[in-house]
């Protein structure tokens, strides 16, 4: 009978490593959340623009990112940036790759939110004498972001789960730290089980919070 042993958690060296992993995961998640949202917003606006070139670019951007694996995108940046003479820290490379990757999902969600704003709202805003910027700021964004809130959170959860892939380019985030610890103590079952539970807890927490927030900001159009 196999005996689970979590003794390795008492070792301060491994605690340090796990702490570093958590911090790196948080850093990557935080920056990717912001950049991914901004790029997604820009591409979503591109896809609704009147210029054909911009619309085509937006469509290609989303199609391409959704139909190729994130791991390949990550390796592409990791291998090709040094070739261009740009040598970056793996953490930054993974932030770049993951931001671009999540922007595709965010773009689709935000676009759906923008489509929820009907033509009559624009006409109302024009009748009230709002400028284009004011219309976007006070009418379009508040409505579309509320509509898009739930799927955006599910994208965010996905983003957290995807950060674990970044260990493959030597980033010491949660997964990378676990892999290193496993290499030293050889307790793969315990470590990966712990990691699985940890990720589950994080995502459950986020979905619980998001449900509470969603109840507050929900609107009926």
């Amino acid at each position: 009978m196999y005996r689970l042993s979590f003794r390795f958690l008492e070792n301060p060296q491994y605690q340090e490593l796990l702490k570093e992993g958590v911090i790196n995961t948080l850093i990557i998640t935080f920056f990717c959340l912001i950049f991914g949202f901004l790029i997604g917003l820009i591409v979503a606006m591109m896809r609704r623009s009147k210029m054909k070139v911009l619309r085509g670019f937006g469509a290609f951007w989303v199609d391409f990112l959704r139909n190729t694996p994130f791991l390949v995108q990550l390796f592409f940046f990791y291998h090709s940036l040094p070739r261009l003479g740009i040598e970056l820290d793996p953490v930054i490379v993974s932030i770049i790759a993951l931001s671009i990757n999540t922007s595709a999902g965010n773009c689709e969600v935000i676009r759906a939110g923008l489509m929820a704003v009907k033509k009559s709202y624009y006409e109302c805003a024009a009748a009230l004498g709002l400028s284009t910027f004011q219309t976007v700021r006070h009418v379009v964004l508040p409505i579309s972001l509320r509509v898009a809130f739930k799927p955006l959170v599910s994208n965010f959860v996905n983003l957290i789960l995807t950060t674990s892939t970044c260990f493959s380019i030597t980033v010491v985030e949660l997964m990378g730290a676990s892999k290193i610890i496993n290499g030293r103590v050889d307790r793969p079952f315990e470590i990966y089980l712990l990691l699985l539970v940890a990720y589950c807890c994080i995502t459950f927490l986020i979905s619980m919070i998001s449900k509470a927030v969603d109840r507050k900001i929900a609107i009926t159009l």
Binding site: P69, V72, S80, M175, Y199
Partner: protein
């Protein structure tokens, strides 16, 4: 495959690499297809159990589904590939480990789709079935399931494409799939743009037609009752 590079000289992309890439496509497609078939079967079963009227029975599949849906595939893969052999004292090859993990993962997501599309059918359809003298099972097969299938298929294709992308993770447990070969060849030839371009193209060529099919079908079935 393993050519020796001397004094900073990197070997060029060779004709033999075409075969390596084709072989890699085979590995990716084999693992993906097998685990999609197994995952769909298991997922349908789990989804049907989820539709049960009994609250306890219907929430049983959640015990398997929620951890699989809320944790990274890499962690699941490593848990199965490195962890399970330690516990059960068996030797698990990379192929069965990859297929097991991917099918369980697919099943968890597929079960949600099945459950959603069956509950999306209005209750009036059940009543209509009963009114025509069908039994419970007969109503389900002849009335409900057919309509649910129409909602299910586009979403299922999207899921399949997603799982195809996820199958690139198996390169992390040393299976020689497209991603792994891309990595090896890219490092060997030092031509990352060309090699990763090929890898991107391979994945894109497989999944783009499917994505188009999914969005076409989604438009076809998108009408209200």
């Amino acid at each position: 495959m393993q050519e020796v590079h001397v004094m900073g000289q990197y070997s060029q992309l060779a004709v033999g690499d075409i075969y390596t890439f084709l072989e890699a496509c085979g590995v990716t497609l084999l693992v993906t297809l097998v685990s999609l078939v197994l995952g769909t079967l298991l997922g349908t079963a789990l989804g049907l159990v989820r539709c049960s009227k009994n609250k306890i029975i219907s929430s049983l599949p959640l015990i398997i589904m929620e951890p699989l849906r809320n944790s990274p595939l890499v962690v699941q893969l490593f848990l199965v590939y490195y962890g399970l052999p330690m516990v059960f004292g068996i030797l698990l090859d990379a192929y069965p480990a990859a297929i097991l993990t991917l099918s369980l993962n697919t099943a968890a997501f597929f079960a949600v789709l099945v459950h959603n599309s069956i509950t999306a059918i209005p209750v009036s359809q059940w009543e209509a079935g009963y009114a025509l003298g069908h039994g419970k099972a007969s109503t389900f097969v002849n009335v409900i399931f057919r309509q649910a299938l129409r909602l299910l298929i586009p979403q299922a294709i999207t899921l399949y494409i997603n799982q195809l992308q996820c199958s690139s993770m198996i390169s992390l447990i040393s299976l020689r799939d497209i991603c792994r070969i891309g990595q090896l060849v890219s490092v060997r030839t030092m031509q990352p743009f060309l090699v990763w371009g090929i890898v991107f193209a391979l994945y894109y060529v497989i999944s783009f037609p499917l994505a188009r099919l999914a969005s076409y079908l989604e438009k076809r079935v998108n009408f209200s009752y």
